[in-house]
């Protein structure tokens, strides 16, 4: 028995060596895609998986002489399972890249693992600003919440909005959005009042009554995308849409995945985000069409574009590193820039976070369907949290 354990330890050591240095010797590069495919965040997983598979279908599975193999795992949105799956993928499947990560804690749980095993981790969804600081092997292709929120504050103050009430779900990302907006908006001389709504089973009516009493120029909202429809409904039921209070917020409330189902209550909501399925560019038209065709007419949302660009980043990184993995691959990813369906994007070489345009959009009916129609662009926005730190 002792010999066996010595043997397995030796095997283990060999495997680690194989990872750290000589990943270029492999003929197959496996990508472990860990997503919440079931549970409350299943739509995130579904969008990203569909987009990643679409990318591989369009671009083939051979890069720099290596065959790309995608392994999809369901972590049900629970952090310890994400970590275990990432660990199994690294140890057993010898994946060259781990990717996915639907929620912030899922990414943070796996971050030490990426550092330890020197495996690049591509975050395709989770949006808390600090994630990329958790490991030098993390690269992000989604967005950060402050990145989408601060432009909202700037746009609001430039467009005659003086007084805003913020209404956010009482959890990490909600509080981040509240802080980012309040900070940026008061810096511009605006007046802000903060309200927080419980995350579980929220009833917005008492909060909306407070909003109605405060008579602000605009109501800033951040709720997780699934709750957005419920919020919109109550917003209209209370008659707030007719009271002249503008509805503004980062784009999660009017997520493309559920926007069309919300009905007319969503019309006129103004949001800032990095992606809309209605983005007017040939790249996006081709992307949306191919995505819908492959997925029974499902409309891609900002999660899908994060997955699509994540795969692109891995492909381009491998091309640049000549198929080498580990640190070489992360270094190759730094500074890459390309035209994504969402517009021009690049990876900030310092922070490994995405730099992208943020668009101001209004919900309108286009060809019978509701879309976030972009009407203003703030180009090349970096994550404001990390930008503030480096200054």
């Amino acid at each position: 028995m002792r010999r066996r354990s010595v043997l397995s330890a030796a095997g283990a050591a060999l495997a680690i060596l194989a990872f750290g240095g000589t990943a270029s010797g492999q003929e197959v590069v496996k990508i472990g895609l860990i997503l919440p495919m079931t549970g409350p965040f299943a739509s995130t997983g579904r969008q990203i998986e569909a987009a990643a598979k679409l990318y591989m279908r369009q671009n083939g599975d051979t890069v720099a002489g290596k065959t790309i193999q995608l392994i999809v795992k369901d972590d049900t949105g629970v952090a310890d399972i994400t970590k275990r799956l990432a660990q199994e993928l690294i140890v057993n499947e010898k994946v060259g890249v781990i990717a996915g990560f639907g929620l912030t804690p899922l990414a943070l749980a796996s971050a030490p693992l990426a550092t330890q095993a020197k495996v690049p981790a591509v975050v395709m969804a989770a949006a808390t600003a600090t994630i990329t600081e958790a490991s030098p092997y993390i690269v992000r292709t989604s967005f950060t919440l402050p990145q989408a929120t601060v432009p909202m504050a700037n746009w609001a103050s430039e467009n005659g909005i003086k007084k805003v009430v913020t209404l956010v779900s009482d959890y990490g990302p909600g509080i981040d959005a509240e802080k980012a907006f309040t900070g940026a908006f008061s810096a511009k001389g605006g007046q802000v009042e903060n309200l927080r709504v419980p995350l579980a089973n929220p009833d917005f009516s008492p909060f909306l009554q407070k909003v109605a009493d405060a008579k602000p120029d605009a109501l800033f909202v951040f709720v997780p995308s699934g709750v957005g429809a419920q919020f919109m409904k109550q917003f209209v039921e209370r008659g707030l849409d007719k009271s002249g209070i503008k509805l503004i917020g980062p784009g999660d409330v009017t997520d493309d995945d559920i926007l069309n189902g919300m009905g007319d209550v969503a019309l006129g909501a103004i949001t800032t985000q990095h992606y809309s399925a209605a983005h007017d560019s040939p790249e996006n038209k081709a992307f949306v069409e191919a995505f819908k065709k492959a997925n029974n007419g499902m409309r891609p949302n900002f999660m899908a574009v994060g997955g699509y660009d994540g795969m692109h980043l891995i492909y381009e990184g491998l091309k640049k590193s000549n198929g080498a993995g580990g640190e070489a691959l992360v270094n190759a990813m730094k500074g890459l820039s390309w035209t994504s369906p969402r517009g021009p994007v690049s990876i900030d070489p310092q922070t490994r976070d995405i730099v992208q345009n943020i668009y101001v959009r209004r919900v309108e009916r286009v060809n019978g369907e509701l879309y976030n129609v972009e009407f203003a662009t703030i180009p090349n926005v970096k994550d404001p949290v990390k930008a503030a730190k480096s200054n």
């Binding site: 397995s8 079931t38 997983g45 399972i81 970590k83 912030t104 095993a117 990490g172 579980a200």
Partner: protein, 354 residues
């Protein structure tokens, strides 16, 4: 060894003797049990690439064992057992984050903290009917979850508790990326706690719990201090759950809010239903069944595996697990006779003897 002298000397064995003998017999380890743990130990050496999921199974098994102690033996229903699991996880995690990196120290602290929480909440939980218990346990877990969410300066809130670095177990074994140390550690702890639980349930204390479960009124009438026993077992189970949580926190070196989430309490109930309550191995077998099924099915179809788990669960409930296990048991001639033999051991006690 016991049976011989009694059969020769004493004419009819007294009830006390019969009970004692039956207890001794129940306390003895069967072949299947020894085999079970031997296989578990063997996986340490023969399945090196599965240690990560085995570690999770060992932890869930211990957690389910803890629920079995109150549900299977004392009849306390709970939909909030994750409260203790999560409390233990956060205790161990926070200790480790602040420099107390010794795993065993964290384990002990988590057990104590969870036991204390269990003791305090037991007075709430042990009032009222089953439905009340369900609601109160659920409420306690939700309350803790919200506290952990709000106290983000301590727990990291929704982002999770980061920066946990564990020292080596016993100062010798570092946690490795293959999960071997983690699995060996979790398995050992689970095994030791299992032995303790096994001793407890065949002790007079354990028997009194079972009589409380079957008929609390009657138990009180024969002089069993019902409330005190229930408080004791609830506290014990809480400590067990706390240790399971601590194991999870230490081996994954991360704690997030979902350790306190409702789905964790519900899952563990499911695990116990799959494995069967009231014989200690239910939780362990359930954990193996549930996790292995989940692993295979979700590898095969990441989107729809829950459908198949649900289907299997429905089949188990419809067909009846007892019937399934009896069919399997019937293949083994010795086990067929055992239930009958056991039934004879404890004759109906005449009222005057009690």
């Amino acid at each position: 060894m016991h049976a011989d002298p009694i059969a020769k000397s004493a004419p009819p064995p007294s009830t006390a003797d019969l009970v004692r003998r039956s207890l001794v017999r129940k306390g003895r380890w069967g072949v299947a049990e020894i085999g079970f743990w031997a296989v578990a130990a063997a996986t340490l050496f023969f399945l090196p690439e599965r240690h990560l999921i085995l570690n999770e199974i060992a932890i869930i098994g211990l957690f389910a064992l803890s629920l079995d102690l109150i549900l299977g033996y004392a009849g306390i229903v709970s939909l909030g057992h994750a409260a203790f699991f999560g409390f233990g996880a956060y205790t161990a995690g926070i200790l480790a984050k602040h420099g107390f990196a010794d795993p065993l120290l964290g384990l002990g602290a988590a057990a104590l903290a969870a036991a204390l929480l269990g003791f305090v909440t037991s007075f709430l939980v042990l009032r009222g009917t089953d439905l009340t218990k369900l609601m109160v346990t659920l409420g306690v877990a939700l309350l803790l979850g919200e506290i952990a969410n709000q106290a983000s300066w301590l727990t990291g809130g929704a982002d999770g508790l980061q920066g946990i670095s564990m020292g080596p177990v016993l100062g010798l074994f570092e946690f490795d990326i293959f999960g071997t140390t983690a699995y060996a550690y979790s398995l050992t702890v689970s095994f030791l706690l299992f032995i303790l639980a096994r001793r407890i349930v065949v002790s007079p204390f354990g028997l009194s719990l079972r009589s409380i479960r079957d008929n609390p009124l009657r138990a009180r009438a024969v002089g069993i201090p019902v409330s005190r026993r229930l408080v004791a077992v609830y506290t014990l189970a809480a400590a067990y759950a706390g240790v399971a949580g601590a194991l999870l926190a230490q081996t994954t070196q991360f704690v997030s809010l979902d350790v306190l989430a409702f789905h964790r309490s519900a899952d563990i109930m499911l695990v116990l239903v799959i494995g069967g309550a009231g014989y200690l191995y239910g939780g362990l077998l359930g954990a193996i069944g549930f996790k292995v099924l989940q692993d295979i099915l979700s590898g095969w179809t990441p989107q729809y595996w829950q459908f198949w788990i649900g289907l299997i669960l429905v089949v188990i409930v419809l067909v009846g697990r007892e019937r399934l296990t009896d069919k399997v048991g019937a293949l083994w001639p010795r086990s067929r006779t055992r239930p009958a033999g056991q039934a004879q051991v404890l004759p109906a006690t005449p009222a005057r003897e009690v």
